[in-house]
Every structure is written in C-alpha cells, then in structure tokens.
Amino acid sequence: MSRSWWGKFLLLLCAIVGAFIYIFPTIANLDLEKTNFPFKRKINLGLDLQGGLYMVLGVDFNKVYRDVLERQTSSLKDRLHEKGIEITGIKAVPNPLSADDPRYSFSFDQSKRQDIYQMIKKEYWTMRLAGENEGSFEVALSQDYRKQVRERTLNQSIEVIRNRIDEFGVSEPAIASQGTDRVVVELPGVREIDRAKDLIGRTAKLEFKMVDDKSMSPAQLAALIAEIEKKHGITFKEGQKFSEYVRLLNEKGREKIPEGDEIAFQRPKLSDETGEMGRIPYLLKSKTEVTGDDLQDASVQFDPESRRPSVGFTLNPRGATLFDRLTGESVGKRLAIVLDNIVHSAPVIQGRIPGGHGQITLGRGDSEAMMKEASDLALVLRAGALPAQLEFLEQRVVGPSLGQDSIKKGAMASLVGSLAVFLFVTVYYQVSGLIAVFSLVLNVMFVLACLVGLEATLTLPGIAGIALTVGIAVDSNVVIYERIREELRHGKGPVVAVESGFQKAFRTILDANVTNAAAAVVLLTYGTGPIKGFAVSLLIGIVTTLFTAVFVCRLIFDIYLKYLENRTSRAISI
C-alpha cells in the first residue's frame, strides 16, 4: 500500500505542477513576446469576451449551378456543331420542384435525337437528362457534378475570404465551413466592423465588356427600360437588392433587348449626405472580353494633379494579349469596366493598350474615404473574386468594452459564488470540508489548464459553466461524505468508513456525471459560438470532477488517515 501511495502522490504532484504551468501565463497576464516563461500560450477567449465579429455566411449556389449548366450546355452545342448536329433555343427553364436544381432546355431535329443522347452519355457526365419532349431535351447537372461544384465553390469561397482577411490584418481570424453550404467567420478584436463586412461580402467580379453604342441611342434605351418596367411591373426601391432588379429587367425584357446584349447600370453617388445613388443605363455586349481571373496585380495609385486616388491594375500575359487585341480592334468605341455587375466606368478606347495596364477611377468623396475605397478595391481585386454570392445569415458583434466588462463581472461572480460554497462546505464538514475545498480548487485549475491545453475557447457562458462545475463537483463530494458519515454511524472505524464510503459512492457519482455529460454532448453538437464554449467547459469540468472527487480526494484522505494514525483521537473530522 505504501508504494502505490507514493506513486499516486507523485502523479498528483505532476498534474498540479503541469496545470499551474499551463495557466500561469493567462493569470499573470504575461506579454507572450517578451516573457522568459517556458510555456507560451494563453487561454483562448471567445468573441463575447474579446470583442469582435462573428458571422455565418450562406453561399448562394443556385446562381453558380445555373452558370455552370449554361457553360456545359454551350460546350455541348459547340461539340455537336463539330459533328454537324445543330441544337437551338438554349434557354433556362424553371424547375418547379426545387430551386437549386436548374434546368436548361434546347431543341433539335428529332432525327438526331439518338446522336445527341449518345454524346451526352459519353462525353458529358456532368449533365443528366431531366425531361424530354418531341424534339427537345431538358438537361440538369448530374448529382455527382453538382456535389463537386458545390464543394469546389465552398472551398474557393473560404480561400478568397481568407485572402481578404489576411490583408485586413486581424490576429487569429477563424474561417471554416459549417455544414455543406455555410461559412463561419470569426474576427476577434476587429474594430471596423462595417468595413470588414463589406470586404468579405463583395463578390468583386471584374469584367470588361464592350458598350453597344450602335443598336440604340441613349433615349431609346431609356424608353425601352421604362417600357419593360411598366409591362412587367418592375420597380426599384431603395433598400432592395439592385442586382435582383437588373436581373428581372434583363429576363423579362429578353425579346426587346438586342441579341447578345444586356442592360447594366452605372450608379454614381448623387449626394454625400443622403448617400443617394443614381442610375445611368448602358447597353452592353454580354460577352465578357477579359475577366478579373486574368488580373495579376492591383494597387492604389495617386494622381497628384487631380488629387484623386485610383486603382491601377496589371493583367497577366494572357489577359494582356486579349486586352491588346481588344483595344486594337475597338479604337473609338467604349469599354465598360464592370464590377459586381455594375458599370464602374466606360471610357472611350483612345488607342491600343499593349502592356495590360489600366486604371479604374473612383467616384467622388472626401479624400480619406476615397483612399480607403481605393485600397479596399485593390485588395479585393488582388485576393480574387468570390465564386458565389454570400448571404449574411447571422452576425454578432461584441464591442471591446462589453467584452472586458463581461470578463471582469463573470470572473468576479464565479469567485464569489465559489467562495460561498467553500465556506459552507468547510463549516458543514470541517476538516473533510477543507479537503473538499482543496480538491475543488484543483478542479478549477485543471479545467482551465485543459482549456489552454486543448486550445478550446473560453466564452462567457463557459465561465458560467466553470462556476456550475464547482456546484456539481460539490455534489460528488457530498455524496461521498454522507456515505462516510453513514458508515461511521453504523459503527465502522474511520479507515473502513472512508474506504466503503468511496466505494459505494463511486457508482452513483459515475451515473450522475454521465447524464450530465450526455446533455453537454448534445449541446456541443448543436451549439454554436458561446454556447459551444459552455458545452466544452461543462464537459471538461465533468472529467476533471471525476478525477478530483475520486482520485485526488481519496488520496488526500489517505494522507489524512495516515496522519491520524499517530494521534490519540482517531475520529475523522467530517
């Protein structure tokens, strides 16, 4: 018995020292860069304690699916054309059953049906046949390909967001996917919340399209738009999604709009105070000549004369070649620079631009705001376009002062509550109570050390969870002590009483803590953010409680009993 006793004691000592080392940097609030302390890690604070931005973004896959399907259908048309088979009337067809499974239909000569079917089966595993009529097919994306597209889009979105955030300079940002279609972004300590949201949310799709000056005059274009609006009851009110408005115009006005063209708008800011924006319509050729994919670099440039910043960009060799040819063929025509489907500017091409350099000028505003706008634009162009549009599903912002406040109050409350418990337990159980208090203090130490060790996050509910753990841990002690008291009442000696007290109580404590753990696990699975922190604290607390109440407490009792052996009064104070 002696040897195992020493072994256990040593184990406990190591655990205590280890735990202390782990939590020292946090408690002493060491400066991690300058300190000489061997363990350089502090506890991870949740956003509700640090302050910062937490966002859940939904990815709009539907448009991505549509675009991908359109490209596949286009490609099919070209392939069939090579074989001498023509298909016509490619158009999107609404799918009444499910919005995220787009359909395209096309028509053909019924005699060629078999060839077309074979082609799809052989070379286009990406598509599947969703419906058929005499002389026309309805196609959709195959399940496998849809899954692939979705995963690729999700991962790419995360990458782009990560790039943008890296540039923003937030320490320890966290970006991860949630489920199959969401992205969770955590930016601790960020102050400029709106700017961060803008940076992340922008699609930043850059396209160069030619302006169609020939088909209509500006007056005719304006009239056309008014006509489409009236006929289909489309209006635009401030606060609505502008992109939706433009999409509807183009969709409903399809017959009137010249083939191969689309309507787009420029939105100059009319007034700095009200933020009101104008609408200047353009008729653009739908074909995208050069895209942001070919962008090599973008940077802020400052024109000393006009005293206005602008964004200068450089295209990669392929883009530069395209740009060269385009500008060479189109001198005198206008080239629209389209950003996120909105015409940014449409300068006249003065001459060939061989080097692939260009400039995007900004609107008006005060110089500081414009500098910010320029650097943000350069940033998103560099980081790359988002492959899909993001929706802000959930946002939580905690200001820095509230975070600090919460820490102080939460810690204070936990301390006071624990002290009340300690006092009570000591009065009620005397020396044994002191033993219980000691094991409770160790318990909390171990919980904090585990949080640091597992790099888990401490949130405000997490602090509550630790306080709750103290209460629950007392439970285990009380169960044991009441048992011991009972055994003593039945006339057993102190050593035997302690032994059987611990023994009989063990199963009960196990049961009770397992059910606690079950609830905590459910919380862990379904909880997010601060609640997850609560579940983690609770779970760790349960494990450490089992350890301290059963192992540590028992050990200290053994020491206590040994100490009593040499005393005249053998009664344990419980």
Binding site: D48, V56, G58, I193, D194, G239, F392, L393, Q395, R396, V397, V398, G399, S401, L402, D405, S406, K409, G410, A413, V416, G417, A420, V421, F424, V425, L460, P461, I463, A464, A467, L468, V470, G471, I472, V474, V478, V479, E482, R485, E486, R489, Q503, R507, D511, A512, N513, T515, N516, A518, A519, A520, V522, L523, Y526, G527, P530, I531, F534, A535
Partner: protein
C-alpha cells in the same frame, strides 16, 4: 457532525404524493395555457431580426433616441431601456429582410454620429440573425432538447429498469416545462442561451433523480420486507440531506452569477437558478411518486395477466448490475 437533516428523519413524502403530483399537474397545465395565451418572448435567435445595444450620453432619454432613429429613416424599430436607469443603455430591435437587417447597425451608427462624437456613444453589441437562420436555429434547438431527453431515457433504462426511466424523463420534462412557464410569466427573452441553460439543467437535474433512485434500489435490495411505498419513502428521507445540500451549493454559485455576473449572463443564470429549485423539488417529490405509480401500474398489469392465466411473474427489482 453538523447535520442539516437528522438521521432517522421520516417525513411522510410518499403518503401525500397525490398532493405533489396534483400541484405539478396544475403547474404544467397552467404553463400550457400561458403558452397559448401569452406566448414566449422569443429572442432574435428564433425570430430573426437585429438587436443593437447602445450606450448613449446621460442627457438623451429614450424618447429622444426614438425620435432620432425615426427621423434618420429607421422606421418601426423598438427601443427599450435595459439595466439600471443610470447605465443609460438601450436595446434597439429591428425586423426586416436579410438585406435591410445587414444595414441597420451602419444606419444607427450614422444617425448617432450626426449629433454626437465618436467617444460619446458606443455600440456595445450587435446581433443580427437572418430570418432563414432564425428558423433553422429554432429547429435545431428543440431537436437537441428532444435528443437529450431520449439519451437519458435510454441510459436510465439501462442502469436501472423500465420502471424507473419514465419517472426520470417525466421529472425532467416537468422541470423544463415549469421553467419555461416562469419565462412566459416574466416575459424574459427566450433565446439560444436560455435553451442551452435548459439543456444543462436536464443533465444536472437528472443527477438528483438518479441518486434518489439509486437509494431506492439499494433500500429495496436490503429490506425486501418493505413494500415499495415504504422503501421509496425511506430512500427519499435518507437522501434528503444530500439533495438539499448540493442544490444549495449549486444555487449559491448560480445566484452569485445572477447577481454579479452582468447583464449578458443574467437571464442565463436566472434559468439555472429556477431550474435548480424546481429540480430539487421534482427529485424529492415527483420522481419518487412516479416510481411508485409506475410500479403499481406494472403490478396491476401483472396481476391481471396472472388472472388471465398468463403465468407471468410479477416484476421485481432487477439485481444490481455487475459494477462492484
């Protein structure tokens, strides 16, 4: 030894069990009625919307804040004062579609900046939940409660037997419903945090119940001469001290949190407080009564099966599982 409950105490809990069950049934029905009539005050986690907590200078009162917000273009927002009157903290609640919600905090910032400088006011906290996210959070919230109860049902059945598990689950259900009832009464905001507290309660409250059941089983094992009422009563009396003690201790810690922990955690702590008290009540009075009721039910069934010539033995206490 300092003793809260003297050994040998023999309060007749079981005898009056119809009273306890009666009280609880009344409370549960009252809660259901309140739920339909008044309804829970759902937070934005479940309804969707935006909630902005601001701290503004002392000389602005709630009326001025409302006027400024309305003239700034934010129509239909609700403003309420929170915390102590001296704290000058207000909560601005807005509803809308996802697009407009996204802009709300920007707008509030702009409106306040018109009259005040940056240092005079502070946007302390912004929570925005889009309507789609709100309903999915609600769904997963209630699902999680359901799963937790299910797990416990299974666990208690394994560790004890099927006479005990319905009692355990019903006691937990009882605790949850009554705590929610108190929330409806006080119209405090019911959001994800509170749901988390309820889940924690389910786990914690089950503690007490299991400890009582453990004792019941042990008592029946050691004293087979006692019938079930006597055994249960004895078990409850024996564990009374322990149940009250631990509930008291946990109550202390949570009470301190409620009192001193600050606004953000206040309602969370409140939920736990209420739950601990109700949980202690249910473990002592309800869980025990239910075991007896179910045991009687099984006995009656066994008796009628015997009469019908079924020959099935009356259900007795299962032998202890081999954990020792």
């Amino acid at each position: 030894m300092l003793e809260l409950i003297k050994p040998g105490t023999n309060i007749n809990f079981v005898g009056k069990r119809h009273i306890w069950i009666g009280i609880s049934i009344v409370a549960i029905i009252a809660t259901f009625i309140l739920f339909i009539v008044k309804g829970l005050n759902y937070g934005i986690d479940f309804t969707g919307g935006a909630e902005i907590q601001v701290h503004i200078p002392q000389n602005w009162d709630i009326g001025k804040l409302r006027d400024e917000l309305e003239s700034g273009g934010l129509k239909g927002v609700k403003v309420q004062q929170i915390g102590l009157p001296t704290a000058s903290q207000f909560l601005i609640k807005a509803q809308g579609d996802e697009h407009s919600l996204n802009q709300v905090s920007k707008k509030v910032d702009a409106i306040l900046l018109k009259d005040l400088k940056h240092g005079d006011f502070e946007i302390q906290r912004v929570d925005v939940v889009g309507p789609a996210a709100g309903s999915s959070l609600r769904m997963s919230g209630f699902l999680s409660m359901f799963y937790a109860l299910l797990c416990i049902l299974v666990y208690v059945t394994i560790r004890f037997d099927y006479r005990y598990s319905p009692g355990a689950v019903m006691a937990l259900f009882h605790d949850t419903v009554i705590t929610i009832g108190i929330f409806i009464l006080t119209q405090k905001q019911f959001d994800l945090q509170i749901l988390a507290a309820l889940l924690a309660l389910i786990g914690y409250s089950n503690n007490d119940t299991i400890i009582v059941y453990d004792r019941v089983r042990e008592t029946m094992h050691q004293h087979p001469e006692l019938n079930i009422e006597q055994a249960v009563n004895r078990a409850v009396n024996e564990t009374l001290g322990r149940t009250i003690l631990t509930s008291l201790c946990t109550f202390f810690t949570v009470f301190a949190l409620w009192l001193l922990g600050g606004k953000v955690i206040e309602d969370f702590a409140f939920t736990l407080m209420v739950g601990i008290v109700v949980g202690a009540y249910s473990s002592i009075f309800i869980a025990s009564s239910l075991v007896i009721a179910i045991s009687h039910y099984h006995d009656r069934r066994a008796l009628s099966l015997k009469k019908a010539g079924g020959g099935k033995k009356a259900i007795s206490v299962r032998p202890e599982p081999k954990f020792e």
